[in-house]
Symmetry: D4
């Protein structure tokens, strides 16, 4: 349902051609499109400022395609599917050529123009090179949601001067995303250097006692620095959405 359709409906309601009841029913019905295997939530854009995002894992290429097409029609904003394998992405792109695929972050997306405010910058720091795919998922998400994003990768605390080299950006940022695996110590150091909100993303980088990201997750939750909060392991997408929500506050 486009904005025009909504306005038309609302005017009919105001004119009395549509009862309140009918209006409510109309709105509720139109916002959920039954595809059989999925109920596409077209109301989310109105409710939450961005269209529903497709979680690609566990869905077939056909399912992603159908939902993506449905969203692309109904929504004026960018459309995204996360956690897409190269094969599944290729399947969708063949049928939906406007979709682009980013192989590092594994996001399939249709980008729509967005206003970006340079004075409100999202900064993404990653501890190591291996954390880049997760960091890129956060970056592309925040970008598609209309933010100016800056990144510095591979500045973990074992060579702390690499972090301090980016101190100006840390001070300039409005929100900071820290992406780190292993022991996730970067979070606490960054958290102590800024008075802006810090979103920590533990990654599954590491081995043995790193427990596929659990250690980084627990370490970030136990951080001695205040003002830090944590999202799920490897959840670059979640961090990007949250950073965007925060970054759009005025």
């Amino acid at each position: 349902m486009t904005d025009a359709e909504i306005v038309a409906m609302l005017r009919r309601y105001k004119d009395g051609r549509l009862s309140e009841r009918e209006a409510v029913a109309y709105l509720e019905k139109s916002s959920v499109e039954e595809l059989g295997f999925a109920e596409v939530d077209h109301a989310r854009e109105r409710r939450q400022g961005f269209p529903e995002v497709i979680y690609g894992e566990g869905k077939t290429g056909e399912q992603v395609l159908a939902i993506m097409e449905s969203l692309a029609k109904s929504s004026a904003g960018s459309v995204m599917a996360t956690r897409m394998s190269a094969e599944k992405a290729a399947f969708v792109q063949e049928r939906l050529p406007e979709a682009e695929y980013d192989a590092v972050s594994r996001i399939l997306y249709i980008e729509r123009p967005a206003r970006r405010d340079a004075a409100h910058m999202v900064l993404i720091l990653s501890a190591g090179t291996s954390d880049i795919p997760v960091a890129e998922e956060a970056r592309l998400t925040a970008h598609l949601y209309g933010n100016v994003v800056k990144v510095h990768y591979d500045c973990g605390v074992a060579g702390i001067h690499r972090l301090f080299a980016h101190r100006a950006d840390i001070e300039a940022a409005n929100v900071i995303i820290v992406v780190a695996g292993m022991e996730g110590a970067l979070t606490s150091v960054v958290g102590g250097l800024t008075d802006k909100p810090v979103i920590a993303v533990p990654t599954s980088v590491g081995y043995g006692a790193a427990f596929h990201g659990v250690t980084a997750l627990l370490a970030m939750l136990s951080s001695c620095a205040a003002g830090v909060s944590v999202v799920n392991i490897d959840n670059g997408f979640g961090a990007g959405v949250l950073a965007s929500r925060i970054n759009h506050l005025r």
Copy 2:
């Protein structure tokens, strides 16, 4: 070191009576007060906008008193000690009568005036009555850091109309803190109703498979709602600080 002292020092530096080196050393030294058992970080207020907060657990009454006195002198902001038992609080209050103690949140504090912006409201929702101590720790923290805070307790999802009754406040809030134990499902429902950042605080309320808050923690991290991030179990303080940081962004 007060602001006046800093200005005096900086002027001497500009006048050339103090070398850059001396200035840096002076600043660094003065910002860390050695108490033997603790290095009080007076620079934090400049760096992060609020004075160091004392984590009361594992510190003796004498230690809390000494740090609190040191901070009260050097800082213009409110001074807080969290996780204070009634006994330890009474010990400090006897010697520092301006300190107030809130028995529910177990915070000992000296409140200083703060400007509050009613248009930017922090909303705190708790799932049950037993979550109130943690929610109150968040509330008092956010209040002391100069925020307008509103609370609704006992609106867990097993009686979801209790939550919907507060829908107007959910829409009006600038940041939302959700405090819940057991399975922490309130987070996902609230996360789906708003486009503002949601900070989830798992509590240790529950028994058996609630594992002292671990289940709520994991559930919140795995939430199907985007825009949600999580702090440590029972960490009302951390949620309050983070909400304040976000709420002060413009």
Copy 3:
């Protein structure tokens, strides 16, 4: 052993041609068919109202075939093998053409007619599209055991209006199965909306802190809603059997 054979034996017992001892021994022996690698429990149908179900995982195609043939002969009810890969199913179907295979739920089955009571409906709700295979295992199981089953998929709590759209079915259901991964919050919301028994099935959908279904499992066990019980992760079959047992009570 068919019913006719049982009746014959019992009459011989009544006539005194068979001692009680012999009768007991005969019954016990005949109800367990030794296949070498398995002792097929033909008495289960008498004891529990449905024939033994084959757990396909860890069994070879030959083993499943042998047990399935043995049950198909001795039982009047539907025969099922769960967790069957497509390859193993094809192997059995080639030799036992009356067997059908459902690729989504991975059940291989021989359906026999059953009476269904429309006034006693089993409702299955799933949180997301990725939960469908588990939900379908529950659905097909309950169907084969003679129940009227209704399903609504993809109605997770992050868009709670999608759930409320099915409120009439929630009220009409006699038993409700909730299938959800990630944080499993759907269970608590549904549990609070109904006074019927709710069976929660955690799924391994999700990543990181979802821990392959453990988080959903723990969250469902810790649910703040009463009247809810839980089966093993991804155990759609178990939920279907239990729902059927409950749904047949009068």
Copy 4:
């Protein structure tokens, strides 16, 4: 709000003295009584067939008293508070003398008359003597909710003839609750003997590798017997409610 009040309100609505909107608002408002620390859910009785039950842990005696008085006034059914220490119970009883306290199950309750159907019996089996407090919580709960309940304690599988001695009751029962700690094996044996729903309650009885009930919980979830579902560790109350819901189905 009593039934009379509801009827009065509904008639005014029918007469047009109350708009639909007002009626809805009235109903919603009246069903949630704001006590400040708790929102008492008086609608639950209408919605779910029994009044809200008070979870005593983490609530003060004053809070339990206030909620209990509120429920006792508004509800026609029995009123219960679970997990009440003897001290807290005594505090409430002093001010609310009609409340009775059961020291084994730690339930504080006001019993109201209920119709019980002897043909639909709930059977509770416990593995050991130490499981009795949890089993009694289930028994008293199911009793207060209007069920005929029968119990056999200390019939664990290490002396399996003790279980078989109760085979007649197992066959007669409409729903069976199995309460067991340690390895919880009783569940699987009972599950194999009946075609009725079995609700398993793991208890924290045991030591070392019993992990305070976690082992029994996992074992019950992994039970090789179908038709079994599980509630939280030591959650006799939850089992009692669920058994009651199932037992009232026709």
Copy 5:
């Protein structure tokens, strides 16, 4: 070193042609054959009654071959390598044709004659068909170590009459090995039926909350039946060795 060589050496020692020191050094040196990657412990047969057994996992085919040849020369008893993949086994068999491979238990072995005492029987019971590979590892191990072994597979407690059908063997056995996955309840029931030692082997059979054998392991350790001990998950070999040790006591 053969027995003959040992005797020769001992005589030289007695005759004084070898000092005690030399004798000790000779014995110690000869009992450890350095292969570079492994120190083959030829003394084990003297010390523990059976030659060293090769743990095949993590060893290359070449390594297994070299150790096996070394043991086959020095030992009069059967030689075994466990956890051998079919490929690795074929590699060894090509070069060591006397070695036999059992594909179910994945043991590669050279059997040597052994005296077996029919009056001392080792009984192996498995709960399900999927447990057979582990049970067979125990069976073949105990057999190679010179025991009379009897097996009954697929007699789990969900159909407890299947177990009772083997009661005579349970009474006749000298040691009992119980092999079970999922919730491992068979252990407790068997433990309560016998006064002989019971060795429980948890298997990784099951899914979800079975946690790859951990649940069965914990359940067996927490068994309410005394006289039961437990070996590692899927450790049929360990159970076979221990049963043999016990079964050879007089």
Copy 6:
């Protein structure tokens, strides 16, 4: 039921004065004494060679007393209650003066004469002084069940000569119990020195990563030495019973 009573009954059965059915019923009934809270299993002595043992934890003094009196009357063997606090033991002893209490192992017992075979010795080794209570529980249990028991405490592997000093006893033993906390390494060293069965008892001695005995438990289960099996953490009783069962085999 005494042996005399059984004989009397059996004769009446042989004489035809009692039908088989009646005999069976008589035996079954008499072997389970209903105490309300417990079903005392008097048949266990016949079935398993020793009377039921009372697990004292979670039972009241009254309950222990009642069961102990019941067993003392019906059984000719020693009677034991484990995990008895000093207070509970004193309560029972006051009313049952023949009961003795061992404060180290926390066993309350009535010792009856037993034949002991010096040629079959149970050896108990403990790693440290802190493991003694658990080791003593094993020792007293094995002693009461009619075994010759020898102990060596504080011979952990960090000073391995302390262990080697007891090599003669290790060789002479028929069964060995190893009691160790922390990392439990003693098990593997002893397991490699003997060809007799080794029962490992992990204890909750240690801190931090010892996880209250879990580390010792896992280490013992993963022992590189064959012929070792494990009982629950701190389960000296279980080890004593199992050692006794093994030690009585001929």
Copy 7:
């Protein structure tokens, strides 16, 4: 056995008055003093350079006293008992007045003179004030073992300038012990600043997801800085011993 006694014995051996065998037996026997509950390892000082240290937890005051007296007589070095409660320490001190008690580290000790090499300094850094007891256990241990020790407490990474203020000491140290709870991030930062060995001690400081030191432990093990190793949670003693061993290498 004093050095003089050893020399005397060795001379008698050289003179032929003692056979080699006797000498070995004499040495072995004299080095283990049987106290019944403990085998005091007097040889450890010769073997490992310091006398056995008493682990006070789980030992009675009488046991500690007896071992301490035994060691004080036989050893020329300092004697220590760790993890001593104030009560147990007072009990020993009453009877052994030369023993001193340090209430922070909970060590009871008899200090003997030691040579200390100022050019080889052990540096101990702690993250917070609450980590001091563990840090002090490390400090006093290293001191008693003859090291020059320097400490800086409360220099966690959330205020990283506090750490950098001690950079000169970090460069001067020969070994560094890092004591930290919560997320233990200090380890990685220090590990990146030095080329000396770093010993990390996780502490149980923190709450919730800090899991009593487990998170710090895992984070330290997963540290992105090389050259770091870890001891058990709260194991200040172990860190002190290891630092001493390293610091005495030349």
Copy 8:
């Protein structure tokens, strides 16, 4: 930056041609080479005595190649990349022929001459043959960092004479690395035999309750032997670096 370049820069600074500020900036900038995906830390060699080591896992062949080339140019020491698959190594070697690949330890390296001090030997002991890859990673690392390294593999405690055969080397070593999986008991025995620092490396060798190295890790952390510290599971590299740091102390 080569040493020559550094000297040149320092002289210009001394001559006044470069201000201190410029010198510092020059040093900091030149020490971090931005490759886009990685910030190569050339300063590490100066700061920590060895060039940055590349963690190969999670990096593409191109990334490893670029970093390796950058390090090979700037560093005079050996250059290493760990955890390299054979494919990735071949990719790099094709373009960088001086790089050698060790297939057992999976290290790709360019060896540069180093002085080795035979009087300071690093000894590596492994428990089993399957631990060799991890032990070799430690060996090659320590070798490349300029140490004399000696190894003995397959000397686990189940045949403890195999360990004692290497007692002379244990006494001669300056630092000992113990590599063991399963229950890791070798650590405690070695720790008790030496007064030198022991570095324990748990390996993921084992199955079931060995939990991929977690059991060995916990056991080593809980070791009853003092002077032992632990690195991450399978972290042969970390152990090699730490041993080298310790071994170079004078």
